[in-house]
Symmetry: C2
Subunit: 159 residues, 2 copies
DNA sequence: TGACAAAATTAGGTTTATCTAATAAATTTA
DNA sequence: TAAATTTATTAGATAAACCTAATTTTGTCA
């Protein structure tokens, strides 16, 4: 019971990376479609349906989703608020990676998907702030922005 | 065999986060002391000795350490090179977090410890580059550096 | 409405990584 | 050097996530 918390529960949600992934996915899907299905979650996370079933039972026990066998999947208020926390971190990171570091949008997203579970809200917020500052400076045409960009584009070390 | 690779093997070392942690720890310890012991690794990673024993057997099988029961623990060349990759990512991230984002050094280190396993070399290198640029600009007294710092210090949202 | 297809669950396994308790080896010390 | 202490290993369990195969439920459509 403790051997796990040490290595898994690093964020402020009290959830494992996996559980964070599930609620985040449910949240995102529920904005795209009327009804969220086991199949959709499985497709999105690239896992099989039985794994999703098992996870849904856990999420239900934790009070993060309303769910009856073969029925609809809906986040509870608590689930929604945690999902938003995770997604908030995701957004800050993704935007920072793409806008400031100049990463391809898909790569930025992938990196954010992984980092969102391990970086604290404080770091994510600060990276978001840095991005805000950067965006304003860029739109003003500040010279350092261009210099930074050319500095970042130098050939990466092969290692 | 595949269900694991999808979620664990995200970096360029081909190792799980855990294995990365072990070789990184061994590498760091071997620079601090003459002999690296099971006990030290356990203390550093905050786990128990039997877990370390089990991991060492795996690392040996993978050809990353030279090790005989009750004997010395030493990284092979291959192990050393992987450890350096991980530690390189760690350094870039830690320095970025502390110097640019202004995080407390211990917190910066903790965040780096976790993120080093999920962020690609490319991202880490770019964050390192951004830090380099930032350091030069700061030492030149560029105005935007001060502005950024004050922007980052605004009260963080309680969420 | 009855048969077929699609979706979801259950049952039973695997892997990774951890733990505790018990044992064995190595080291220190009296 | 023998006893006591420290260090390390083995044995046996547990928990989180995932899988495949088989079964059950739901939904569609002729």
């Amino acid at each position: 019971m403790d051997q796990n918390s040490r290595r898994e529960l690093i964020s402020d949600t009290g959830l494992t990376s996996n559980m964070e992934d599930y609620i985040e996915t449910i949240w995102v899907l529920s904005m795209q479609k009327k009804v969220v299905r086991v199949k959709d979650i499985a497709a999105d996370l690239d896992i099989k349906m039985p794994s999703v079933s098992a996870a849904l039972n856990k999420l239900k026990e934790m009070g993060l989703i309303d769910y009856e066998k073969y029925g609809f999947i809906e986040l509870t208020e608590k689930g929604k608020s945690l999902a938003q926390k995770v997604y908030g971190r995701h957004s800050c990171l993704k935007n920072f990676f793409s806008e400031v570091l100049g990463l391809d949008i898909n790569m930025a997203n992938d990196e954010a998907c992984r980092a969102e579970h391990v970086l604290s809200p404080e770091v994510c917020v600060k990276m978001g702030r840095l991005l805000d500052f950067y965006s304003v400076e860029r739109s003003r045409g500040s010279e350092w922005v261009a210099k930074l960009q050319s500095h970042l584009k130098k050939t990466k070390n092969p290692d």
